[in-house]
């Protein structure tokens, strides 16, 4: 692909992940507009990557299992 074409949103995402081809990455050296867009993309990706994971309160598994129907040998379910 020609290096004078602006990066597409997909390409900006690839760049932010370090996955854009060298050929297309060269475009950034010559295009201030795409450099700004790429930096904004990378900044957002960094913020999103730092989002923590949350866990439910202790006893969650017990509360779930208390509501699950457990099959019995007779084919019925026990709650």
């Amino acid at each position: 692909m020609a290096t004078d074409l602006h990066l597409t949103p997909d390409e900006l995402e690839l760049w932010a992940q370090g996955l854009l081809s060298a050929g297309r990455t060269m475009h950034l050296a010559d295009c201030a507009e795409c450099r700004v867009a790429a930096e904004r993309e990378r900044k957002l990706f960094l913020e999103l990557a730092q989002l923590p994971r949350f866990a439910p309160e202790a006893g969650f598994v017990d509360r779930v299992l208390a509501k699950v129907r457990i099959p019995t040998p007779s084919g019925d379910y026990r709650v």
């Binding site: 949103p9 997909d10 904004r40 993309e41 957002l44 990706f45 913020e47 999103l48 990557a49 730092q50 989002l51 923590p52 994971r53 949350f54 866990a55 439910p56 309160e57 969650f60 509360r63 779930v64 509501k67 699950v68 129907r69």
Partner: protein, 163 residues
């Protein structure tokens, strides 16, 4: 999965209830699981549906001209009656954002639920676009559009905050 639900509904106690409901559905409906579907995607699909269903019910209550049908008093009716205009950040949003960790969480909370689910699956759970499309039963092009729009909105919210 709990993180997804929590960020979708932005209320820890409610997220616990919906996560519980999700796992009960998963375990009780394990026989309907199709192995060609990734197991975690199946769980996320049920979790996301539970969260979206809740948000839709909440939206219906909020958008009623006369207030929520569940309102027991005139004050409750007034509080849930049609709200016109752009969505403004409420004091409750502020509290939720603090609990959830700051500006990026607040910005995510302002996204449409469909965008929010896509961006969380992509950036928190690390799903590919194809996996998100399968999990949410959406065309691949729609997922890409949602994620690109969501990122644009997030950037705008975050830049507004910095200015």
């Amino acid at each position: 999965m709990f993180s997804l639900i929590y960020r979708m509904v932005r209320d820890r106690a409610l997220a616990e209830d919906l996560a519980q409901e999700t796992f009960v559905k998963v375990l009780n409906g394990i026989r309907s699981y199709r192995p060609e579907f990734k197991f975690s995607s199946w769980i996320f699909k049920i979790a996301n549906n539970a969260a979206i269903d809740h948000l839709r019910r909440k939206e219906l209550d909020t958008l009623s001209l006369d207030g929520s049908p569940l309102a027991a008093t005139p004050d409750e009716s007034e509080a849930t009656a049609l709200q016109v205009g752009a969505r403004q950040e409420s004091p409750l949003d502020e509290v939720e954002a603090r609990e959830l960790g700051g500006a990026i969480e607040r910005a995510i909370g302002r996204l449409r639920p469909e965008y929010r689910a896509c961006i969380l699956l992509r950036h928190v759970e690390g799903y590919s676009y194809e996996e998100i499309a399968r999990t949410l039963d959406l065309p691949l092009g729609t997922v890409k559009t949602y994620i690109h729009r969501a990122r644009n909105e997030l950037r705008h919210y975050l830049e507004d905050r910095r200015e």
